[in-house]
């Protein structure tokens, strides 16, 4: 199969099959499901086989200045394979979950479309083509959230508006890049950071991190967690969007722009990363709903990746990228467990759950593995990527490192609270009937949990084989010359000690909270009620700090002002007509009908003419 056909199939096969799936009548549900699984596996197969190939395709697309240029290379293959993998697993997972759902076909079709779009975005070598696929995801996200339940379209619109705004910033960024370099082919773009470039970098960064779901563009994810179907949460916000967002961020930092540790942009990225880590995890701590808690963690983990790449130091970057793939794994696994709990126990509200660990042992086991990975407990993958990020952050500034560690401490605390409240503790009578989730749902959880363990214990494979080749040569050479080795046990023992201390602290805090309030659910209330945070938390719950609400209120004021200008303009135009009417009344009044008056007018005018002629 020629490389061109290979890559085109990778992009177009999934969407084509999605359209076919839509044509199948809704009665034949099993046929649809089968087609979905086949399509997902085919997609995985196609993408996986692109590993190791290096090729570029130029097709005429939009006039002379923009051609459909696609590029197959290591990073693209790695990211798309990961995405395809998660796609397949979530498809399997949603077979039982979505069987009874009304928009059954639409869910699978949109999922396959999203896969196609994601492949397209990653393989494209032209920024405009990337934007084409990037914004395509806008429509599919809107669709998948909107089919959640009748009122879900509000959240869907919110998601669409937020990503729409940031995608437009991305478009503006691309426009500035075009203005600076007059080409959009990514391979030959290498912009120094002067003139328009910093503005372009910031705008492109906004596009990337908003897709990744970091602050301040995060506020649709917690709402979607409640409204959208769980497979969507496991599929897009948890894995695909993180992969795409951080992929683009890494391409920006590494290839398109010459980002150096000294430039203010890298500090900006680090600040954004650390702020996201801290605020999101604080919010996660106080959540009372299983999926909302997980969604806030999704937002906070992205902070680590942005911090990692923001350090612009090889070790930090490798840490960020490694964290990207690790997070995709354990976050989707956690959401899957959440889905299982929701399907089996009927609700995700922690107050009504409790003690179902014994009833759903496998789910509980997967939960433990995933929770441990996210908290950065040593043998699992989360620990290693976080250590690398800590190392990079420490190198650039201790404040970032401290925030990162505090983030881990709070993450661990919140997951202890979640695990205790949901799975351990006294079981309510109504949960007695709870049985273990069906096999099709358990299998993806187990696979991902397995990978978490594998990537943790044998981290040399992912780092050396997958992540390091993503870096440009000069960074690799710099790292090798400095003798740092990324894989294996972290070199800096103090970091490890600090992490262990943070985890122990979380455990003690949880024990203290449980003893204080008697149940796992309220284990973190003492933090919730502490004087300073109390006021902030109340406001946050009422969406005061939600940038989306602020923006909407601002736009309402702007609309009022614009409307006033419009009405004033209209009044002016109509006013001219009224002025003419008024003048006409004046002129008509002058015609009194008195003949001698008319004669007098004529005589006066005659004298003027005669005098004028006289000169």
């Amino acid at each position: 199969m020629t490389p061109t056909l290979h890559i085109l199939l990778a992009i177009c096969l999934a969407p084509a099959l999605a359209l076919v799936l839509l044509l199948i009548p809704s009665r034949a549900r099993s046929l649809r499901e089968a087609l979905a699984v086949v399509a997902a596996t085919a997609n995985l197969g196609l993408v996986a086989t692109t590993f190791g190939q290096q090729s570029r395709i130029e097709l005429p697309w939009l006039g002379t200045s923009f051609d459909l240029s696609l590029r197959v290379y290591h990073t693209a293959s790695f990211v798309t394979t990961a995405a395809a993998g998660f796609g397949l697993l979530v498809t399997l997972y949603s077979l039982p979950f979505m069987r009874k759902h009304s928009a059954h076909g639409a869910h699978y079709a949109l999922m396959l479309l999203s896969l196609g779009m994601a492949n397209g975005a990653v393989f494209s070598n032209n920024l405009l083509l990337l934007l084409f696929f990037w914004e395509g995801l806008l429509g599919t996200t809107y669709g998948m959230i909107a089919i959640g339940h009748a009122g879900a379209f509000k959240t869907a619109t919110k998601a669409l508006i937020i990503s729409g705004i940031t995608d437009l910033c991305l478009m503006l960024g691309i426009a500035l890049v075009w203005a600076q370099a007059h080409t959009l082919t990514m391979t030959n773009l290498r912009l120094p950071l002067e003139g328009m470039a910093p503005a372009a970098f910031v705008l492109l960064m906004i596009g990337a991190i908003s897709k990744g779901g970091s602050m301040p563009f995060h506020s649709w994810i917690p709402d979607a967690a409640v409204d959208a179907p769980t497979p969507f949460m496991a599929f897009l916000p948890a894995s695909i969007e993180k992969l795409l967002g951080i992929y683009l961020l890494s391409r920006l930092a590494l290839d398109l722009f010459e980002l150096t540790p000294q430039s203010w942009l890298s500090t900006l990225m680090m600040v954004v990363g650390s702020v996201t880590i801290l605020l999101a995890v604080l919010m996660a701590l106080i959540q009372k709903d299983y999926k909302r808690l997980l969604s806030f963690h999704a937002v906070s983990q992205v902070g680590y990746m942005i911090l990692g790449i923001g350090t612009a130091v090889p070790i930090g970057i490798v840490g960020g990228l490694f964290h990207m793939i690790n997070h995709a794994m354990y976050k989707s696994c956690l959401f899957l467990t959440g889905g299982a709990v929701e399907r089996q126990a009927g609700s995700t509200d922690l107050a009504s759950l409790g003690g179902i660990g014994r009833k759903m042992p496998i789910t509980f086991a997967c939960f433990i593995v995933a929770a441990a990975s996210i908290s950065g407990v040593p043998p699992f993958n989360g620990f290693f990527s976080k250590e690398l990020v800590y190392d990079g952050a420490l190198e650039r500034g201790t404040i970032f490192y401290l925030v990162a560690v505090a983030g881990s401490f709070l993450t661990a605390a919140s997951f202890l609270k979640l695990g205790h409240a949901a799975f351990l503790g006294p079981r309510d009578k109504k949960n007695d009937g709870v049985r273990e989730a069906p096999g099709a749902m358990l299998f993806p959880m187990l696979v991902i949990a397995g990978f978490c363990i594998f990537f943790g214990v044998n981290n040399a494979f992912p780092i050396d084989q997958l992540i390091v080749p993503m870096l440009p040569e000069h960074l690799i050479a710099e790292a090798r010359s400095a003798g740092t080795h990324f894989s294996g046990w972290p070199s800096n023992p103090t970091l490890v000690a600090m992490t262990a201390a943070a985890l122990l602290g979380a455990l003690i805090n949880h024990g203290f909270g449980v003893k204080l309030y008697g149940s796992g659910l309220h284990a973190a209330d003492h933090i919730h009620d502490s004087p300073g945070l109390r006021w902030v938390y109340d406001r946050a719950e009422r969406r005061w700090f939600d940038p989306y609400e602020l923006f909407m209120r601002g736009s309402a004021y702007f609309a009022q002002a614009a409307n006033k200008i419009d009405r004033a303009n209209d009044w002016l135009v109509v006013g001219l007509g009224r002025l003419a009417q008024f003048a006409s009344r004046g002129v008509r009044a002058a015609h009194t009908g008195n003949t001698s008056a008319y004669i007098v007018w004529s005589l006066i005018a005659a004298t003027f003419i005669v005098i004028y002629l006289g000169q």
Partner: protein, 478 residues
């Protein structure tokens, strides 16, 4: 059929044919409808027939009407084909829409005459001929806006007519200034006479007033939302596809192809366009009448086209030409959907509408897709034109103007989704259970939506045409 006779055919078939419609209409309604569609199809066919020779080689076809020169270059054929295509769909749509209203003969006469004068304007190479067809469209749109003959409708029609005529007269003064400077009204002669030196700022401003009043940009835009009272095929014809495009086309014909103009002119147009985009987008966010919202949206989108044209960069102008096509298709679709909604529920007030998704699925889907195209969301065509226009602006060294227009685009998303959610999603309004529109109406809406989608996915075909047109316009003839 030699090329010159093709141009004359494109103009005369609809114009003169329209005059016969009332007579045929007296005989039989169906014959009149069919002939009206045939006349518009004739114009479209002539345009398409011109395409191979004009786009194939770089020669410009010339003819003469009443002793004045006609010119068919790539820009003319591109805009002509777009307008006649969209008008054809609108005429077919209006078969069912106008069914049970009176004055139908006058309606079809004016619509086809409107298209005829649009063709004349597109191909005219002489300023006076251009002005004649410009005013002919003003007359036709006056009669069409006042079609329902209600007191408020006629007043609005008068307002629209007076504002456009006022602008046109100032433009005529601008033409007279050019005439007194160069001694002729013929575009080619003026261009050779000026030979590159920019035209005086006063003449520029005068001509701009005419163009801005016709294409409803900020200071003169208030007549466009008011013209929403017209029957919806007319509003879609006027607002989306053809009338407002006239102003933009003439701007391209005068200021991009033939005359150079000072930097002051560039900044003036860009600032006015930016202001118009923002103000009308804001106003659309407040409005509660369905058609007025879409009309304000047109005012805002036209500003984008001006942004592309006035940026002066190749990519900006190509984007503007694409924008004319994409916006025509998408906005035409939006208005026809609004027409179906109004036709079935007899109300345009979005506060009293809701949950129509269940009763009118196809219309809802078409509305969503057309709205996405107007917003510039891929895979629909609108994305490319918006991206290229903004890139054109940035390339012309005006990042802040580009940023303002991005804010405008953001507001486009806001108000279009506000309308979509309020009308089609949410709980259905009390008591009303409207049925789906009639077959031809929904068919034409679906046609426009599919065209937008196809234009988006297969962008290289329209993209190629626009590219060729721009190279010819800027004199870099390949």
């Amino acid at each position: 059929m030699t090329e010159p006779s093709l141009i004359l055919a494109a103009i005369l078939i609809p114009s003169l044919g329209a005059l016969l419609l009332p007579l045929i209409g007296a005989a039989s309604k169906r014959a009149r409808n069919a002939i009206a569609a045939l006349l518009v199809l004739g114009a479209l066919a002539a345009n398409v027939a011109l395409m191979p020779s004009v786009f194939g080689s770089s020669q410009i076809v010339e003819a003469s009407l009443v002793g004045l020169r006609l010119v068919a270059d790539r820009l003319a054929v591109f805009v002509g084909a777009t307008s006649s295509l969209i008008s054809l769909i609108i005429v077919i749509y209006s078969f069912d829409y106008i069914e049970h209203y009176d004055h139908q003969n006058e309606y079809y006469l004016m619509v086809v005459l409107f298209l005829g004068s649009m063709m004349g304007l597109v191909f005219s190479g002489n300023l006076i001929l251009l002005f004649i067809f410009w005013e002919l469209t003003a007359i036709a749109s006056w009669r069409l806006i006042g079609y329902f003959r209600k007191e408020s409708d006629v007043l609005r029609a008068n307002k629209a007519f007076l504002v456009t005529v006022f602008g046109a007269l100032l433009m005529l003064l601008g033409f007279v200034m050019l005439w007194s400077a160069t001694g002729s009204f013929d575009l080619a002669e003026i261009k050779s006479h000026l030979s590159g030196s920019p035209i005086s700022d006063v003449a520029l401003v005068l001509i701009l007033v005419g163009i801005l009043s016709k294409s409803a940009t900020l200071p003169f835009h208030t007549w466009l939302p008011d013209a929403g009272v017209a029957p919806s095929p007319v509003t879609s014809l006027l607002h989306a596809a053809v009338l407002v495009k006239i102003g933009v086309y003439v701007f391209a014909r005068l200021f991009v192809v033939n005359f150079a103009y000072s930097n002051f002119g560039h900044t003036l147009v860009l600032v006015l366009a930016a202001a118009s985009a923002l103000v009308s987008a804001g106003a659309a966010l407040i409005e509660t009448d369905l058609k007025r919202i879409i009309a304000y949206s047109t005012v805002s989108q036209i500003a984008f086209i001006f942004l592309g044209l006035a940026s002066g960069t190749t990519i900006g102008i190509t984007g503007a030409l694409l924008y004319i096509l994409m916006h025509g298709l998408a906005k035409g679709g939006l208005f026809l959907c609004a027409g179906i909604v109004e036709h079935q529920t007899h109300t345009k007030d979005i506060t009293r509408l809701g949950g129509l998704r269940h009763q009118m699925p196809i219309t809802a889907l078409s509305f969503l897709l057309c709205a996405l195209s107007v917003m510039g969301v891929p895979p629909l065509g609108g994305f490319f034109s918006k991206a290229m226009v903004i890139m054109g602006a940035a390339d012309a060294g005006r990042p802040w103007i580009a940023a303002t227009f991005v804010v405008g685009a953001i507001f486009t998303i806001l108000y279009l989704f506000r309308v979509f959610n309020r009308v089609f999603l949410g709980e259905s309004a009390s008591g009303a259970h409207p049925r789906e529109g009639s077959r031809t109406m929904v068919g034409s809406v679906a046609a426009l939506t599919v065209l937008s989608l196809v234009a988006g996915v297969a962008i290289n075909w329209p993209g190629k045409l626009a590219e060729l047109a721009v190279t010819q316009m800027l004199g870099v003839v390949k």
